[in-house]
């Protein structure tokens, strides 16, 4: 899929939690998009030459619009621009970009991955959610799949109902939310995602798909390599 330049219109802005917002962009020209789950857009920010990368979180079957999720806590140029938008505003971006996609089962690497482990931190969940739903619903992938999702506070969590619904509908999917600043009442994993990964038994022949800040991805990669996971089965997307 070649990169194209898109003009779009903001049609909906949703606050998902105190930190995270979702933006729905209705495509104008071209008016349809084709992409793979895990890919991202390169948003043009007025007055800034550097393009800002945001993973597409909407499903591939929604071809006339895209959705992105943004952590609004860091006040960079991209966040300042996005949070200034209101429905009806025009935006432009290049898409699709990126190679962070689930290895096709028809490929050698994909065929070797007998289960899939997704590891996300913060808004790193955006491409992961898309990949996970795509594999379960559209690919009808029956391989065991586990999601480790790290956040700081309980109030940061969003989409929990979506993931719980998925776990109900697809017994091959398990969710492990991990909080680094959990209250004493929190009964699930606490600490960093690496802490949770460390104490859980390793899954044989798994492909690992990691998305988060650079340091988090490096930490997870180091842990997995120490545990004997082969480099070619560690797929990642980093952001600053």
């Amino acid at each position: 899929m070649a990169v194209e330049h898109f003009q779009a219109k903001v049609s909906e802005i949703t606050r998902l939690s105190a930190k995270f917002m979702q933006f729905h962009f209705e495509l104008v020209t071209p008016n349809t998009i084709s992409f793979s789950p895990g890919q991202y857009i390169l948003l043009e920010v007025p007055g800034i030459q550097q393009k800002k990368s945001y993973s597409i979180t909407s499903s591939v079957d929604l071809d006339h619009a895209i959705e992105i999720v943004v952590n609004t806590a860091p006040h960079g140029d991209g966040v300042r621009y996005l949070t200034s938008l209101t429905p009806g505003d025009k935006v432009s971006f290049y898409a699709p970009a990126g190679i962070f996609t689930v290895a096709p089962i028809s490929s050698q690497i994909g065929a070797e991955e007998k289960s899939l482990v997704f590891v996300a931190a913060g808004s790193g969940i955006a491409p992961i959610k898309n990949m996970l739903i795509h594999q379960l619903r559209f690919e009808q992938d029956t391989r065991p799949m586990v999601l480790y999702w790290g956040l700081r506070f309980e109030e940061d969590i969003f989409w929990l109902d979506k993931f719980q619904d998925l776990a109900q509908a697809y017994p091959n999917f398990q969710l492990h939310p991990v909080l680094s600043q959990a209250t004493p009442a929190w009964k699930l994993c606490r600490g960093r995602v690496t802490d949770c990964l460390s104490i859980h038994p390793m899954i044989d022949s798994a492909g690992y798909y990691i998305c988060g800040r650079t340091q988090m991805v490096e930490d997870v990669k180091t842990l997995l390599l120490q545990k004997g996971v082969q480099q070619q089965h560690i797929h990642h997307e980093m952001f600053n």
Binding site: Q50, S53, Y94, P96, A97, E237, N240
Partner: protein
Amino acid sequence: MSDDQQAVSETSQNGKYRVQVIRDKCIGAASCVAIAPKVFGLDDEQKAFVISEDELDDIKLLAAQSCPTAAIIVTNIETGEQVWPQ
């Protein structure tokens, strides 16, 4: 094709911009590959490298401006000026 047309064609293909990847800064997002697949590739460690300079200057510049870590330096070889990052 006249000599003049040939010269224009060669200039537009090779251009005046040269690109260089700072390997340590590259995080393998592959936006450069998406924008300019003739110019950039990814190696075994998912780090970008330059395959060829055979591309329009605007495309090379856009690829550099798409890099989330500004790991691509664009230099104007006619003036010696660093065009990106500014």
